[in-house]
Amino acid sequence: MSSTPNPTLAAPSGAANRRFSSFLATRPRLRLALFLTAPLTWLVGVYIVALAALLVSALWTVDSFTGEINRSLTLDNLKEVVTDALYRTVTLRTLFVAAAVTVIDVALALPIAFFMAKVASPRLRRALVVAVLTPLWASYLVKAFAWRSLLSEGGLLDWILGPFGIHSPGYGLTAVIMTQAYIWLPYVILPIYAGMDRVPGSLLEAAGDLGAPSALTIRTVVLPLALPAVIAGTIFSFSLTMGDYITVNIVGGANQMLGNLVYTNVGAANNLPLAAAIALIPIVIMLGYLALVRRTGALDNL
């Protein structure tokens, strides 16, 4: 019976543990400090410092001749990003793609989430949650390349829809939107599903009981109550699309989004300060969006 812990042998370390526990039990501040030190160090040290470094490096410049970074602070990069027509065009294009992806994802996610939360049997619901989560386990790159082959000339899409006179849109913005809408869909479905799951079934019954047909029940009860969750979902699809540069490289043809500009400036152009300045655009847009939706309670649904 060697596997049975021997109480007399276990006693010393157990007693020490107990002493330590009772020492902590009366010192809530110390307890909190021990609990939060590691995550706070990571959050402040890595995340916030990196963000601050990004902001600061956007104020630097690169000597175009030597390629050396000049660390004197100037607003030139920010001015260029705000005034140059190229950046404005790419920003608007990125915004358009992010908005289109978000609209498509919400339109797809709403009925799926409603079905999962309020119609499906518990068994089917579990199966659907797994089905929604499964694509997240596959590599992002694999999915993007799968869409590349799907959308290619003579690819699966052409082969299936060709007989109906519909052709693959080919590589371009439409392909980017389709691919991104596919990739980010689970991130939109899950919060909306969770939000609708929190709406008690009796509310839907009450609406029907008081004379509202299904469509009216959904419009007057389900959607208003699920709105914060829907917005939570849009925060995901919108921000993830805004920052993407891989999909657009794979299926986007010659189009560029903000992510590409950052990427080329870090790499080929070797202009880290300008890349930092460009990277601030989506950050500012997302901060604006978050500030806008803060009042709806969406941030409590993330």
Partner: protein, 337 residues
């Protein structure tokens, strides 16, 4: 009872969930303007019957009629029946007035008219002053009354109430019982009331259906159900009863069959007193003070225990260990089937 004054009629209604027969052949007629209670423990099928009438469930077989019209298979929003839910089911994103006006809004009533009617309904439950609040800002009793107002504002033929007082504390529950009864009299709407609280059912109802395992075991006025329970189940579920099985009946009563005897029908006298009629000698095993009276447990010489409810006015209270003679009237003894 003719079709003209029948509000609800259930004909051989079944509702099975897989193997479970939640409702197993219920026939029922509820008259117009009646306060009808469905009483039973959880899982007895009473709530399922309510949900079948409301249309949230469809019967496996059988028909449901509302005012003589077959409504089996119609959707809840097509039925002139409203429900007060156990959890009240108030819409959290609307204020009290919009909640109450919801039924009018989906019927297309104009805004000013529906606000007026909703305020009138709120006035009936004396809650005009909370019209602008959200349900989360109300107390349990207030939410209950808002749910009530929301259901009666559309003037349904029948109001279904699913354990509406279950979540309230005792004092509030008693107060709401009075209000419910008054409201029902004033409106003249048929109330179908589901409860597991036998006292509530006895207090409020014109008639009571006692449910067990998906069937109605007894249907009658409160006094019928209380005074003449048809079987052991009803006798013990509605109030408390001293039950005599065949053996105990032979030993104590000297009679064949099974019987029930209510605790308050038994009187305790000194063993020396000469009393006519049925009686049994025993010894007091326990006395419990209840405020309105005293519950006395007597060990009978013949074997079984007897629970007796003595009014608190009895001057000489019996004590533990006292020898007593329990007496009752023959007509208070109920023969069970």
């Amino acid at each position: 009872m003719t079709a003209a004054n029948t509000a609800i009629r259930l004909l051989d209604v079944h509702r099975h969930f897989g193997e479970v027969r939640a409702v197993d052949g219920v026939d029922l007629e509820i008259a117009d303007g009646e306060f009808f209670s469905m009483l039973g423990p959880s899982g007895s099928g009473k709530t399922t019957v309510l949900r079948l009438i409301a249309g949230f469930e469809q019967p496996t077989s059988g028909t449901i009629e509302l005012a003589g019209k077959d409504i089996t298979g119609t959707a809840p929003f097509e039925r002139d029946v409203n429900t007060v839910f156990q959890d009240y089911a108030l819409f959290p994103h609307m204020n009290v007035l919009d909640n109450v006006a919801y039924g009018l809004r989906v019927r297309g009533v104009k805004k000013t008219a529906r606000r007026q009617q909703a305020m009138d309904a709120l006035a009936m439950v004396r809650l005009e002053h909370v019209a602008d609040r959200k349900p989360a800002q109300l107390s349990g009793g207030q939410r209950q009354r808002v749910a009530l107002a929301r259901s009666i504002v559309v003037r349904p033929k029948v109001l279904l109430l699913d354990e509406p007082l279950g979540a309230l504390d005792l004092k509030l529950r008693e107060q709401m019982q009075v209000e419910l009864k008054q409201l029902q009299r004033d409106l003249g709407i048929t109330f179908v009331f589901v409860t597991h609280d036998q006292e509530e059912a006895l207090t409020l109802s014109d008639r009571i259906a006692v449910f067990s395992e998906g069937r109605i075991v007894q249907l009658g006025s409160p006094s019928e159900v209380y005074e003449q329970p048809v079987n052991e189940y009803v006798a013990s579920f509605v109030g408390t009863s001293n039950l005599f099985d065949a053996e105990a009946a032979r030993a104590v009563l000297g009679a064949e069959g099974r019987f029930a005897l209510r605790p308050e029908k038994i009187h305790l006298v000194a063993p020396s007193a000469s009393a006519g009629g049925p009686q049994a000698k025993g010894k007091v095993a326990e006395t419990i003070y209840l405020g309105v009276g005293r519950r006395v447990v007597v060990d009978l010489e013949a074997g079984p225990q007897l629970v007796v409810l003595e009014p608190s006015t009895t001057e000489a209270a019996v004590k533990r260990g006292d020898a007593v003679l329990a007496t009752w009237r023959t007509e208070d003894l109920v023969r069970l089937t």
